[in-house]
Symmetry: C2
Subunit: 341 residues, 2 copies
């Protein structure tokens, strides 16, 4: 059986996490997890002319680091599944242009990292690829000018707002272990595809609230599809709900009799410290991507946690849909990572 | 063996095409294939307030028609893999909000239809889903204002320009046949993931030329990966290269000793007649989606052709990347469809 319930994929061969890498910005370096990222960008543009070109270079750095780390040529990475927040996901597509491997572009807003891992794991577990390179990224400066206001305007953010993380994370999955791999004990056991949920939130400065119902839905379905309970997981990690969205998620779960207070982590809340004054803290595709690559996977590798449900969470609106009065639909895809001797 | 060469997936169970549907606009109705589409939109907005809401409704119509046609509830469609051309693929995401099934958002520009089918087929063939609903759409009026100029400006197009097709196409794949299915003889045998190719074209009014190298690359690799030749295919169909791009593709293939003059079709060139004066004719995700659902699949079903290599072709730039002086990267994903008794 490789399918469970309405939305869960069971990976019989349990694809291996072979390698991972993260590149992040200065604001992320100053947060509590600044030391876990592989590389910090001294310059937001990485020496390029535009922020967009800098973002692309950041993603390429993460991709190359991930593959170089296991001494493989890029051609051995199988294929790239990636996405970002820019219109037409130009960061991922132009980065893919620099690589000679097949490319599947994804858009799941901030849910992209787990969408990529879910599909990459299916390709590897299904025997269609020996390896798959999965990645996502976001950049504060490119996101601000596309979604909100040009930085030069110096607008202030309301209390529920979150800051888009500048960061790129990549993970290389494989059907077989590699002696030279950075990881030997982390496997993908299952994944759950998200459904779009919308409780009618229209405030684009409160995305955490828009995404929390989707996260709740996916967590409940993952547990139900697999006949498991919250106690089977050491951690349930969400991508970028932020402080407000995280509280809302826990309340929504409690209403469904799921108490995960003592095992819930949110990458968005973790990545910045309260002293950094970023309101409800971090968001963006890059947020869950760098926290997964830099923190969650290494914790699993050393056995500090044995089973983790990891969900990147996305808000699927656009500036245009917001202008047309639409509410913000959310989505969350989950992957289940396990420690294995 | 479920993988071949550097980019090809072999589907051992050969997923079934169970159903398909197409919805198109008035300009498409006036073209040579106007009679093959399931529904023609009398009104570009389908009674909605904005073109974008009309586009969404069009996609929903195609999705519901596809599933209704086989008398299944939407919940039995497995999952939706879909994308479109709007920023943050809001058409697909807001359409998915109306459905209660898992959703995986894709962005491959006009290559989205075959990207969806490739991934949907892998999920079905791999045993992760019993069915998968794959779709793509585009809309002339929403694309013009996002990528070019508001229609109200009345700008004229240069000779190499193509018109974005107003249309939505959907295909339901299944692991097993259904007695009530509309199709009984069309199976997916293999697929090849595209690589990003860029020969340095910077003219956003000449996307066919930007995509032709990618189509050539994917065709050559599909044949090489499977040890096949052009003679093994009755048709090699490209998505929306248009007249200029099609000529370029045939020349590029000839340089690689592949003569496909007598078996190449291009949906973009087919969908409009020369009398419609749309320069190099059709483009857009919806172009290959409606021609696949409305024409290619029915021809396979009745055995008029026995094996077809079908490639949707995408130009991965954005208005911003064009402003920043970037050239236009192209991509093409291929699926191999076969007639089976």
């Amino acid at each position: 059986m490789k399918q469970a319930g309405s939305a869960t994929l069971l990976f019989e061969r349990r694809p291996y996490v072979l390698s991972a890498a993260s590149v992040a910005g200065k604001a992320e370096e100053k947060g509590p997890y600044g030391h876990v990222f592989d590389e910090i960008m001294e310059d937001d543009r990485l020496g390029e002319k535009t922020f967009e070109q800098g973002e692309r270079k950041m993603l390429l750095k993460a991709l190359h680091r991930t593959v170089d780390r296991v001494n493989l040529p890029m051609a051995e990475a199988g294929c790239l599944l990636a996405g970002d927040l820019l219109n037409q996901i130009v960061t991922a597509s132009y980065a893919a242009r620099e690589l000679e491997i097949p490319y599947l572009g994804l858009y799941g807003a901030c849910s992209t990292m787990t969408e990529a891992l879910l599909l990459g794991a299916a390709l590897v577990d299904g025997g269609y690829r020996d390896r798959a390179l999965c990645a996502a990224c976001s950049h504060f400066s490119t996101a601000e000018r596309q979604y909100r206001f040009p930085l030069e305007m110096g607008t202030t953010a309301p209390p529920s707002a979150q800051r888009t993380v500048t960061g790129a994370g990549a993970v290389l999955l494989g059907a077989a272990p590699l002696p030279q791999a950075g990881f030997h004990h982390v496997r993908l056991e299952a994944a759950t595809m998200g459904r779009v949920r919308d409780l009618g939130i229209t405030d684009a400065n409160n995305m955490g609230a828009a995404m929390a119902p989707a996260a709740c839905d996916t967590i409940l379905r993952h547990l139900k599809d697999r006949g498991m309970s919250e106690g089977d997981f050491d951690w349930i990690v969400t991508g970028d709900l932020g402080d407000f969205g995280s509280r809302m998620l826990r309340e929504l779960c409690l209403e469904a009799s799921l108490d995960m207070e003592d095992r819930h982590l949110d990458c968005g809340s973790m990545i910045y410290s309260p002293e950094q004054n970023y309101n409800c803290r971090g968001s963006g595709c890059g947020c869950s991507a760098v926290m997964l690559a830099g923190y969650v996977l290494p914790q699993l590798e050393k056995g500090a946690v044995k089973r983790v449900l990891f969900l990147s969470t996305g808000a699927l609106m656009s500036p245009l849909s917001a202008c047309q009065g639409e509410s913000i639909p959310g989505i969350a895809h989950a992957i289940c990572l396990v420690y294995q001797e």
